[in-house]
């Protein structure tokens, strides 16, 4: 063995000229730029916040699901809960995410039905209990219409209060906050009780009218969600604990890298081999985070475990490549040639692709559930599936070829 020969200038320039090496460098720089520009979205457990999982009494169609999420969203908004995200998951679950760590507030709001009141000149004429049904909105020209049906009792009260008051606003309150004030038109001020009511909203444009009508529809429905809801899960993490998780993960990552380096050194006694393995691991970390940043995939604790696992399989692959090449050097001293080396690396890649394929196959169900359902049930692990799969793909298509090139250039030539 000739010491020091590995870093011959010609070897280095040859290595850097390889298109796979250039590709890796470009993608790493691109990922770093994206990470610095847009940041990596962090999961709830790292940034702190609360997730409240709600289950509907029975599965619903997408339209009803949208109504339910819109109503919950409006109600939380009306209560001044900031930074909320309400989204459906599958056909029976709703997930509410808030920035703070006070899920009690949300639990309280969702747990009690919304209080809807319509007042004419400070007199309550309708409450949520009077609304029988809210029909789909209509938009005609620049005018939005929200038809709804009230019970007879409500209709009577409304008719009495509204009699002769065309042009007066009806103030509508959701949980004691004024949300909209449509003007009474002549049709409902004649004193006759009408159960078939319609709120008409003039808008500045068609889109504006539609939006206002939709808002009003939601307010009317707030008192009674179209389906019974129940809080089935609460998850909240403080920002401090989230920071602890991030720091802990960084320490774990660093220590893992050191352990792997030591094992590689013990096995091969070549410090030069430690360099590409460490660099590859760091490159893979950057690429996974870069892709997460581009597609806005949350990185949470399970995702961190996935990153460590993906990098771990990467190290395994590198050991396979190294051994194939070194073994070739030993057993074929005489007929050692570039073609033999290529064949050996090809064999190593057969094993690597096969190993990657089984791992991807095993991760598919998790990825599917995560993709379909979002953050409920086993979908909590979607970050884990994401980072593992991306890590494996990045590995076999981008970083592994570069490592093979490195071994080919610096290690195989050395002996």
């Amino acid at each position: 063995m000739v010491h020091g020969a590995w870093w011959k200038m010609s070897n280095i320039t040859d290595f850097l000229k390889d298109y796979r090496v250039i590709l890796l460098i470009v993608i790493v720089i691109g990922s770093l730029a994206t990470i610095f520009a847009y940041g990596v979205p962090q999961g709830l457990d790292l940034r702190g916040g609360s997730i409240i999982q709600i289950q509907l009494e029975q599965p619903v169609d997408p339209d009803t699901m949208n109504t339910v999420t819109a109503i919950l969203d409006r109600r939380l908004d009306a209560f001044g809960v900031i930074d909320i995200s309400v989204r459906g998951s599958g056909n029976q679950n709703v997930i509410v995410e808030i920035a703070g760590v006070r899920p009690e507030e949300v639990v309280d709001i969702i747990g009690t039905p919304g209080k809807f009141e319509a007042k004419i000149e400070n007199e309550t004429v309708l409450t949520g209990a009077d609304i029988v049904r809210v029909d789909p909105i209509e938009v005609v020209g620049n005018e939005g219409r929200v038809p709804f049906i009230v019970n007879l009792e409500g209709a009577q009260r409304f008719a009495e209060a509204a009699e002769g008051k065309a042009g007066t606003p009806v103030n509508m309150y959701l949980d004691d906050r004024l949300v909209t004030s449509p003007i009474l038109d002549e049709g409902v001020t004649a004193g006759r009780p009408v159960t078939d009511v319609q709120i008409t909203i003039p808008g500045e444009s068609r889109a504006d009218a539609e939006e206002q009508a939709r808002d009003t529809q939601i307010f009317l429905q707030s008192g009674s969600l179209p389906v019974k809801v129940e809080i089935v899960g609460i998850n909240s993490v403080s920002a401090e604990l989230g920071d602890q998780f991030v720091n802990g993960a960084l320490i774990a990552g660093l220590l893992t890298l050191i352990v792997v380096s030591v094992i590689i050194f013990i096995r091969y006694r070549k410090p030069v081999l430690v360099i590409p393995i460490v660099l590859t691991s760091i490159a893979e970390l950057i690429l996974i985070l870069g892709i997460a940043s581009v597609i806005r995939q949350n990185i949470d604790l399970p995702a961190i475990a996935g990153i460590i696992a993906a990098i771990g399989t990467g190290v395994d692959d590198q050991i396979v490549i190294t051994d194939e090449v070194l073994k070739g050097n030993k057993s074929e001293k005489n007929k050692r040639s570039r073609t033999m080396l290529k064949i050996r690396i090809k064999e190593a890649f057969f094993i690597i692709f096969a190993a990657a394929a089984t791992l991807l196959a095993a991760m598919l169900p998790l990825a599917y559930v995560g993709f379909q359902r979002g953050h409920t049930g086993i979908g909590i692990l979607s970050g884990f599936a994401f980072t593992t799969i991306i890590g494996i793909l990045v590995g076999i298509f981008i970083t592994r070829p570069v490592y093979a090139k490195f071994i080919e250039n610096f290690i195989a030539k050395e002996e």
Binding site: V232, G233, G248, A252, A305, I351
Partner: protein, 278 residues
């Protein structure tokens, strides 16, 4: 000694088989603990604001919420509690007022946990099936493929047995680790089958020995990194059970894979080669 092992490989196949059977027995008798995500319940991490001891805290919560409480960890400033059933977060928050700040609160009702548990079984079954199909596609050869799949199954069973023995609960995180294990533990088996089946570079024994060197280095690297992860999470971030559970399950599974690969899978492959298999 390794040469000796190589010669009398047939009885050695029995070792991982026996361990797998013991694991099944342990699971059958000892059962498997389930985490709150799969059984329902509440876990919380508290930052204590006034000096209370573990038992005061425990009885305070038990009386206040009228529920069964387990203290998972307690060090004077931080405490991790689990409670049976879905806890009323409002009542709990009021109860802790002045005693502790709630750093984390996670409560899962029975509806959600039942759904998750169902998904877990499906995910494990489908993952194993997909892995098996992939292995068959790779080798297109029944005996070596079965040898790889059996090794994978033995790893999975021993990992679950280890969880039962060590009291690692079945949580979504540990399920993630089991799924990973299904795809990951067969890596060394694929390596072995590929190298041994190729009629190049010495005798079967020689090829197996050189492959063992590679495989054991791989195992050392992956188990070593999981040990590092486990130690860091247990000592620095005890609240990140997700990470320590994943690490622990992989340590058990990948360790058992050493036996499954080099005693069972290698044994079956040699047997197969000796009987004229290709």
């Amino acid at each position: 000694m390794i040469e000796q092992i190589m010669k009398s490989y047939k009885p050695l196949i029995a070792i991982p088989v026996i361990i797998t059977l013991i694991a099944i027995a342990i699971i059958a008798f000892n059962g498997l603990e389930q985490g709150i995500e799969l059984e329902g319940g509440t876990i919380t991490t508290l930052n204590l604001e006034r000096p209370v001891d573990q038992f005061q805290l425990e009885s305070m919560v038990e009386r206040g919420l009228n529920t069964e409480v387990t203290v998972n960890s307690f060090n004077g400033t931080t405490a991790i509690l689990t409670m049976d059933g879905a806890t009323d977060s409002i009542a709990f928050s009021n109860l802790m007022n002045g005693t502790a700040t709630i750093e984390r609160f996670s409560s899962i009702g029975p509806a959600l946990s039942a759904q998750a548990l169902n998904q877990v079984y499906w995910a494990l079954a489908i993952a194993f099936m997909f892995m098996s199909i992939t292995v068959f596609i790779i080798f297109r050869n029944f005996v070596p493929s079965m040898a790889v799949i059996l090794a994978g199954m033995s790893d999975l069973i021993i990992a679950v047995g280890g969880m039962s023995l060590l009291g690692i609960p079945l949580t979504l995180a540990s399920v993630g680790a089991l799924l990973l294990l299904i795809g990951y533990s067969v890596d060394t088996d694929i390596l072995l089958a590929t190298r041994v089946l190729k009629h190049r570079g010495g005798t079967v024994t020689e090829r197996a020995l050189s492959t063992m060197k590679t495989g054991l280095t791989m195992a050392a690297a992956s188990i070593g990194s999981m040990v590092a992860l486990y130690i860091v999470t247990v000592f620095f971030i005890p609240a990140a059970e997700a990470l320590s559970d994943i690490a622990a399950v992989l340590i058990i599974g990948l360790s058992s894979d050493i036996l499954a690969t080099w005693l069972m899978n290698l044994g079956i492959l040699r047997w197969y080669m000796e009987r004229g298999g290709r």
